[in-house]
């Protein structure tokens, strides 16, 4: 009330501006996707010109064996990769808290190293490696290469959550007689579950969508969906690409929706964990004060 004038006006503009900006960014993010969905129903052969409603591109995509095959390869790679990366990354994140300083620093160097090294460099390095040791390129080499990067992603996400948690709960469990394994299974991992799920989803997505790594280590026999789409874009754009993208969108949205339902069902446990955490934190703060 005392400080009228500019700060006040700025304050009044702040909320609508923030909301408008958020809205604009979402439009920016979704405009191309909406466009792809609309143009997948386009009768015209020309991708950028609308000439009427048609479902023919879905038929074209669905009867194309090479597209279905690519989809199968992509799903296989992404699922195996997500499973491995989630296990490795989660264990590593927890492990990093429980080792000595020197081990932790060495390990962190690896984690950041894999993230910091550009994909194209890892791609050519892996290619040289596999070719030189005479490994046939295919699904296993794609998965191997993907897991390197995604393990680090999962580890960082889970560790961010761990850093926000305090260890009092672990210690309390241990004081109450839980073995380290029990503590891990019944206290640490349940508290981490949202971060683990987020990490797994990201690992799946990165792998499903990856182009660069896959392009170099896939060999001639196994083509993933992104590789297939890229070659379709190169040899004349077909509107069938829009149909494939739309189907992928529907499938993945269904997956996310299911996942969020699962999270919500298990959410109560997590809310309890959160409450415990808040209680523990306020207790330790009171102690400090």
């Amino acid at each position: 009330m005392i400080s009228a004038g500019r700060p006040e006006r700025l304050g009044r503009l702040f909320e609508p501006a923030l909301r408008a900006w958020t809205g604009l960014v979402y439009v920016f993010l979704f405009l191309p996707i909406v466009l792809v969905v609309i143009f997948s129903f386009n009768a015209s052969r020309l991708v950028a010109v609308w000439s009427g409603f048609s479902l023919k591109w879905y038929g074209t995509a669905w009867t194309d064996a090479s597209i279905l095959d690519a989809l199968r390869v992509s799903l296989t790679v992404a699922l195996i990769n997500a499973a491995l990366a989630t296990v490795f990354g989660t264990l590593a994140a927890i492990g990093m808290q429980r080792v000595g300083r020197r081990t932790r620093t060495a390990f962190e160097l690896m984690v950041y190293g894999t993230i910091v090294t550009p994909e194209i460099v890892i791609a050519i390095a892996s290619l040289l490696f596999f070719v030189t040791i005479n490994v046939d390129l295919g699904i296993p080499t794609i998965v191997i290469t993907h897991v390197v990067y995604n393990t680090s992603i999962v580890a960082l996400i889970v560790r961010a959550r761990l850093a926000g948690m305090d260890r009092t709960l672990d210690e309390a469990a241990a004081d109450l007689g839980a073995t380290p394994l029990q503590t891990l299974r019944r206290v640490t991992i349940p508290l981490l579950s949202p971060a683990i799920l987020a990490g797994a989803l990201l690992a799946f997505t990165f792998s499903f969508d990856d182009f660069v790594l896959t392009f170099f280590v896939s060999g001639a026999s196994s083509t993933t969906l992104p590789l297939r789409i890229f070659s379709m874009l190169r040899f004349g754009v077909s509107p069938a690409v829009n149909a494939i993208a739309t189907v992928m969108l529907v499938v993945t949205l269904t997956c996310i929706f299911t996942a969020s339902l699962i999270v919500r069902r298990h959410g109560r446990g997590d809310a309890e964990g959160g409450l415990l955490l808040a209680a523990a934190r306020s207790a330790s703060q009171r102690e400090a004060a």
């Binding site: 909301r19 900006w21 960014v25 492990g95 290619l127 490696f129 961010a160 993208a245 969108l249």
Partner: protein, 292 residues
């Protein structure tokens, strides 16, 4: 005294927990990087492949033509402007999600991931449709009289930059969101009670306390952007050719594996240098935040 055995047990368990990831990194990350280091000192065979003959000429070849230096500078410029733009565009959004979204928070977050779940290539190529000279945007602009002639946006530096912001934005927003959400809102109330204006509270509390998120976001955008391959290939022209494209082409079309390896090593060294600078800045930034 009672605690000591417990600590020993957990310390041993830590090593076991790290082992799978550590072994994977060693075999499939460290060893392959060793391979390109070695290959960068070998000789390329005439039609692809490699001859095991020591050769120091791959690195000087980098400096042999100004075009290589120009591509490196181009790439750095693109990575820098892309990161700054992502931060400027993403921060207000992350702030909104963390403080204003309320019970819609999860929906907003999911919506942020949805574009990520559609093919990266398709998203980029959608801009190709949208921005083409006969595309929907040009059409709308012509109808409203805002545009005469062609849009002329595609295959330019700006088009690549826009594609970059579009594709990398979620990588910036997520770490920002996480650190903003963890920010204790009572600190802002306290600042307000003590007479700080909104801007002052923002610069002196929100920004320093979310610095880890800001730095992580910048790191997550800048690094992969340096090796970007696809966006310039689809949206860019000759002027937005980046290091990643150069390296890739040495393996795909030029078949000069040794020179390609040397380029890869050069990128690694460059990034190590930039990261060292970054950590120095980060440490100073953190120190400034602490002395608040």
């Amino acid at each position: 005294m009672i605690r000591r055995p417990l600590k020993l047990v957990t310390a041993g368990a830590g090593g076991v927990l790290l082992a799978p990831a550590a072994l994977w990194y060693a075999a499939f990350f460290v060893v392959p990087l060793g391979f390109i280091l070695v290959f960068s000192f070998l000789t390329s065979a005439d039609y692809g492949g490699i001859e095991y003959k020591f050769n120091l000429g791959n690195y000087p070849q980098l400096l042999s033509a100004p075009i290589y230096l120009r591509i490196f500078l181009n790439t750095m410029g693109m990575a820098f402007s892309g990161t700054v733009l992502c931060l400027l565009v993403g921060f207000p959004l992350a702030y909104f999600l963390a403080t204003r979204a309320g019970r819609w928070k999860n929906l907003f977050l999911i919506l942020l991931i949805v574009p990520f779940w559609t093919s990266f290539l398709t998203r980029t190529y959608a801009w190709l449709i949208l921005l083409s000279d006969n595309g929907p945007l040009a059409h709308v602009l012509r109808q409203t009289g805002l545009l005469q002639g062609d849009l002329g946006f595609l295959y330019t530096y700006k088009a690549v930059l826009m594609g970059v912001v579009y594709n990398y934005l979620p990588l910036m927003i997520f770490p920002l969101y996480v650190s903003l959400e963890r920010l204790d809102k009572r600190l802002l109330e306290a600042a307000k009670d003590l007479g700080a204006g909104r801007l002052q509270a923002f610069w002196r509390i929100t920004v320093p306390l979310t610095m880890p998120g800001i730095l992580t976001g910048c790191l997550l955008v800048f690094i992969p952007l340096t090796g970007e391959y696809v966006i310039p290939a689809i949206l860019g022209g000759a002027k937005s050719y980046m290091i990643g494209n150069l390296i890739g082409d040495e393996f795909v079309s030029a078949h000069d594996w040794a020179f390609g390896s040397a380029l890869g090593m050069a990128v690694i060294v460059l990034l190590m240098f930039l990261i060292a600078v970054y950590f120095r800045v980060a440490r100073r930034g953190a120190a400034a935040g602490m002395s608040l």
